[in-house]
């Protein structure tokens, strides 16, 4: 039985001058559903995320978000260079004037531990590596326990083992979270999502709906990351 739609996208179109990046795209994401958009580089994946976030306008089409305040994790960490790690992570709380409860502080400490950032709270972004910055951005996105998160290739600079620990922590702490993962790296897909919108061309048009097994077959089972996922007890 289909779940109720949290996000509905209908007939979305976007072009930059003569280059069409999104062509009549339609899909829906239900409550608790975790979906990936898998497409080659330059296919308009980040543009789609920006449109869904509201920082970019579509040429035409309809987007409906039902009872949800999405959190977006952009491709780059987008940390404030003049704020410390802790100040950056608590930025959404500050913006919303939300109280930082003991529970939030406990979650913050857990996240720091998972991301191996304990002891870096007072560091500034320029004092961190690229991977550490991305982890800070991930903590900032997930700390407020959002019901829907859009992830635009947020694990790029993070090594494979750390990536697995972080994804396991996300699924452990928020098993009912809805996710839209945009990526061109197949490794992350089976770890995090259940369904895949698969695009072959460098434009978001005519997607194939696949589950993880179908994607594995499409890309070939010999690929090492699928072996990793099968041998990793965190995802069993």
């Amino acid at each position: 039985m289909a779940t109720q739609a949290m996000v509905t996208v209908e007939g979305l179109n976007k072009r930059f001058q003569n280059h069409r990046v999104i062509d009549n795209l339609s899909f829906r994401i239900g409550y608790g559903e975790r979906m990936a958009i898998f497409a080659p580089s330059g296919a308009g994946k980040s543009t789609l995320i920006k449109i869904l976030t509201g920082v970019e306008k579509a040429d035409s089409g309809r987007i409906l978000l039902t009872n949800v305040e999405p959190v977006t994790l952009f491709q780059e960490p987008r940390l404030f260079p003049f704020l410390t790690v802790q100040e950056n992570i608590f930025m959404p709380f500050k913006v919303k004037r939300a109280i930082i409860t003991t529970d939030v502080q406990n979650r913050y400490r857990d996240w720091l531990e998972v991301c191996e950032l304990t002891g870096f709270s007072t560091h500034y972004p320029y004092q961190l590596s690229g991977g550490m910055r991305q982890k800070v951005a991930l903590i900032r996105g997930f700390l407020g326990e959002p019901s829907f998160v859009m992830l635009d290739e947020p694990f790029q600079s993070i090594n494979s083992l750390a990536k697995q620990d972080i994804i396991a922590h996300i699924l452990k702490t928020a098993p009912k979270i809805s996710i839209l993962l945009v990526t061109h790296i197949p490794e992350e897909i089976p770890w995090l999502v259940q369904t895949v919108l698969y695009f072959q061309n460098p434009c978001l048009r005519n997607p194939e709906w696949l589950n993880v097994e179908q994607l594995q077959q499409k890309l070939g089972r010999s690929t090492s990351f699928f072996n990793t996922i099968e041998s990793n007890p965190s995802f069993a």
Binding site: V55, V71, F74, R78, P81, F82, M91, V95, Y124, P125
Partner: protein, 254 residues
């Protein structure tokens, strides 16, 4: 005790600049007779001969005029720059300010002299009018370099316009305000001298003009050194304030 350290570092940097200027001055003075370019030693050794009794009053008058004129230009130019940026008047403002910059200072000084007579008004207004365009252009161009990626992030978390001003525009303004101070102040010191040439009977510009008329080059160089000293002291104070209170706004972005 970080603050005195910062001040000492600022002074040390300024001192290095002064040493370079003096070295160049010494080198050039070797090729010219003292009545054209006197050496630093010749200038210093003759100080008692040309130091007027009421020197401190002249010094205070110049500092006051440069300070008030620069203050007006700083506030007015920054306000105008912010206003132009907010209302998307960047191009018209740039054109207007460039047109103002073309105005010859001497002509403007004479106009102010005829309008307000001899006194502080001429140098103050001259400083304000000639420094304001640089500051306004600098402000509007600096604000245009705001961090768009961070602004998008704040929009994505539904940050209020006040929050965006606080986390995007204010940090973008800090380096602009600092460079406005550096650029504007050195320009103000130069212009106040011109204003005092034209429209006053006191101040370092007036003394410098008298020395220039009689070709007393040692005295001319003495006042130039004093003006350089004033600029350097203000720059050192400014660097110290920035390094104590605003250093984090200069940390590298990703």
């Amino acid at each position: 005790m970080k603050n005195p350290q910062n001040f000492i570092i600022s002074l040390r940097n300024e001192a290095a600049g002064v040493v370079l200027i003096i070295a160049a001055w010494v080198a050039v003075s070797l090729f010219y007779p003292p009545y054209v370019i006197p050496s630093p030693l010749a200038v210093v050794s003759n100080i008692p001969a040309y130091l007027p009794e009421n020197f401190t009053q002249h010094l205070a008058a110049t500092v006051y005029r440069a300070g008030v004129g620069f203050g007006l230009a700083y506030l007015g130019g920054t306000f105008l720059g912010i206003l132009a940026f907010a209302n998307k008047w960047v191009q018209p403002l740039n054109s207007l300010m460039l047109a103002l910059q073309v105005l010859p200072g001497v002509i403007l000084g004479v106009i102010f002299l005829l309008m307000f007579g001899i006194g502080s008004a001429t140098p103050i207004l001259l400083v304000a009018f000639l420094t304001l365009p640089t500051i306004a252009i600098n402000t509007v161009n600096g604000l245009a370099k705001k961090n768009l990626a961070l602004e998008e992030y704040l929009v994505s978390i539904k940050c209020s316009p006040i929050g965006i001003a606080r986390y995007i525009y204010f940090p973008a303004l800090i380096p602009v305000l600092e460079s406005n101070f550096s650029l504007g102040l050195s320009l103000a010191i130069k212009v106040v001298v011109l204003g005092e040439f034209i429209g006053t009977q006191d101040g370092l510009g007036y003394l410098l003009n008298n020395a220039r008329i009689t070709f007393n080059m040692k005295e001319v160089f003495f006042y130039l050194v004093i003006l350089l000293g004033i600029t350097l002291v203000f720059q050192a104070i400014q660097s110290t304030i920035v390094s104590i209170f605003f250093r984090k706004y200069y940390y590298a972005a990703e």
